[in-house]
Structure formats: structure tokens, C-alpha cells
Symmetry: C2
Subunit: 216 residues, 2 copies
């Protein structure tokens, strides 16, 4: 019974570490399957098969299917949270920090867990887990708004409604996960660059260049 599975054969280490690695492999495989076929169209047997394992084995690492989705959710949102933290200490002005966030956000959203953050329904989770996810999402939103407000305060951003601006920005970024699987012709960094160009300068031509500074 040799198992030629890729993510399952983890390097040696103590038992606890092995267990942790295998659990991660389960979550990652689940995330990829969900992304490809959707949560409800993915059976636990599918995930198990992708790992060359049987269904009950999954239950040794995860308590149920719902928890898998939750873990994917959490993993993806954790990356976004890290992105926010990094961005907050990235630049001088509010706008520079926001630009930094866009770059990191794009990177996170194109990851395997991007789908789970964006497309998964909170309704598929228990009220408790749904509430937790909602709180995490709201935290990201508040972070974006804070950056925008900071930019307004220091004069690097001029926008009427920070909340709507945050929604628009997050929407554009989240939406990447919808089309990126089919059209990955651009890297996350390149996408972020284009988005920054659009969001910073706007659609209307600028007669005189505002104190913008070039994007790298």
C-alpha cells in the first residue's frame, strides 16, 4: 500500500508536527477543491480521494465538513490581516500605505484560499462560525477605511465617502478571485499595479499631475 500522494508524505518530525502538517494538507486540498467545484459540489470523498485517503481519515484531522470551510475562511482572512498589518507600517502617507495594501491584498486573493474568503457563503456555516467570519471581514473593512481616512487627514487622498470608497476598492480586489482562475494572464503584482493606477488617478485625464509619485 504505497501512497504516492504529494501533500500527504510529509517530512519526518515529531508526531504532533506530522499531525499538524497533515491537517494543513487537508485544508489546502479542501480549499482547492472548493475553489474548483464549489463547496456544495465537493463531497468529502472527493477531498479524500485527492489525498489518496478514505473519508474517515479526514475526520481524524477535522471534525466535520463545515469546519473545513471555516478553516479555509480563516486561513485566507489571516493572510489579509497580515497584509493589513504590513501595509499599516509600509509607507509615509495614507495613500502609500493603501497602495501597499492593494499589492498584498491582490497576492492573498489570488492564493488557493482566495476563493473561500470571497465566494463561500456564511450561510453554510453555523451562526457562531458565521459571526466570527463576519467579524474578521468587518475588521479588514475597517482597516481599509482607516487607511483612507488617514490619507484624507494627511492630504494624500481626497474622496467624499470613505466607506463607499473602501467598499469599491475591496469589491474590485475580491472580484479578482472570480476571473483569475480563468484568466491568469497577469500576475497578482501586475494586477495590483493596474488597479493602483486606476484607483489613484481615476478615469478622467489629469490636466496637471497631482502630487502622485510613481508606482514601482
Amino acid at each position: 500500500m504505497t501512497r504516492p500522494s504529494s501533500p500527504w508524505r510529509v517530512p519526518p518530525g515529531d508526531r504532533a508536527r506530522q499531525h499538524e502538517l497533515k491537517r494543513d494538507a487537508v485544508i489546502l486540498t479542501a480549499a482547492r477543491a472548493f475553489r474548483e467545484r464549489g463547496y456544495h459540489n465537493t463531497s468529502l470523498d472527493d477531498i479524500a480521494a485527492a489525498l489518496h485517503v478514505t473519508k474517515p481519515t479526514l475526520y481524524y484531522y477535522v471534525s466535520n465538513k463545515e469546519q473545513m470551510l471555516f478553516a479555509c475562511f480563516e486561513e485566507g482572512l489571516a493572510r489579509l490581516t497580515v497584509a493589513c498589518d504590513e501595509a499599516r507600517a509600509a509607507g509615509a502617507s495614507g495613500r502609500e500605505r493603501l497602495v501597499a495594501l492593494v499589492h498584498r491584498y491582490a497576492l492573498a486573493i489570488t492564493s488557493d484560499f482566495g476563493w473561500c474568503m470571497v465566494r463561500a457563503e456564511d450561510q453554510d456555516l453555523s451562526p457562531a462560525m458565521g459571526a466570527r467570519i463576519k467579524a474578521l471581514k468587518s475588521g479588514i473593512d475597517q482597516e481599509i477605511r482607516a487607511l483612507i481616512r488617514a490619507g484624507i487627514a494627511d492630504g494624500s487622498i481626497a474622496v467624499r465617502d470613505p466607506k463607499m470608497a473602501a467598499f469599491a476598492l475591496a469589491g474590485a480586489l475580491n472580484w479578482i478571485s472570480h476571473w483569475y482562475r480563468d484568466d491568469a494572464s497577469l500576475s497578482a503584482g501586475a494586477i495590483a499595479e493596474r488597479f493602483v493606477d486606476l484607483f489613484v488617478n481615476g478615469l478622467a485625464p489629469r490636466t496637471r499631475q497631482a502630487p502622485s509619485g510613481k508606482s514601482t
Copy 2:
């Protein structure tokens, strides 16, 4: 269209008209249920109960559940298509037409069918129907890109990558359906207004106002 509370009691008319109205009621009720609980979390019994009817009755108007989702999809996308057509003849410059599109788009996306357009997975549909949906969606995307290119041509828009700009704009608009149910503090028109402000002028302060002109 029909009364929200009890759409089943339709005004008299000939048989064919009655049938059509009731079918519309089924689709609308399905759209609302899908929006509220998600496609997979909504059973046909749920939809039937909402109409004070039993499940087999639904099958008298719709061939199966998948077709319901498809009909919702189509209905929503039809509105977007209309929005595109109207926008194309709305203003003088490409930018004005694009602004008009944003307003109509926001209206469509906040409708009952907005969810189906955006959140429903093509994977829940048969390959044939999925392909049709994909084609319709692609048409909308091309329409947006065309407006942007027209704006570039007539000088009312300055943007480096029309394709990415279209993705960003569509993403921001589509994303409305994610948060609008929980936070409907703004009307679709007000949202569109804010979005236009952001997308046209950008985040960076404009020293001298570009030839933008009116904001209603």
C-alpha cells in the same frame, strides 16, 4: 412587477397570461430565497412553501431546480444588457456613457436578481447552461471595455489598461450585492454617485478639476 407578499393570486386574464405570471412569481420567489439562504441551502419545498403551494406545482411551471437558477441568472443579466444598451445612447462622451452605465448597473445589481448574477456558481449549472451564462457575462464585460476605449478615443478617459479597468469597475459594482442586503443604508443611485466620484476622480487629490463638469 408582482406583489411581493403573495404573488400567487394573480389578476384575471387568459390562461396563457396567468401561466406566465405564475411562472414569473416562481422565479422571483426562487431568486429571493437563493439570495437569502443560498442556492444549495434552499430546497424546492422552501420555495413552494413561500408561495403557499406544494413542490409538484413548481414543476408545472419549471422543469427543474437548475432551470430556476438559470432563469434567475438570465433575468438579472437581461437587465444588465438593457442597462448597457441604454447607456450606450446616454451621453456624448465615452465617460458620460460609462457613468450612465454605472448608475443603471447599480440599480440592477441591487435588485432581487442581483445575487443570482453574482454569487451563483456556474458549476451548479449544466455545461450548456453554464456556457450560455458565461457568454452573457462576457458580453457585459466587452460592453464596459468598449465604453472605456471609446472614452480613451474621445479623450474623456485616460487609463492604461482598459481590460483591468473594466474588471475593477465590474468588481466594485458586482460586490455591492454582497453587502447591500446587510447594509442598505444608501439607495442604488446614491451608491452609484459615490462610485462615480471615486472612479472618475481617483483617490489622489486633483489640483485643478479635470473637465468633469456635472455631478447631480
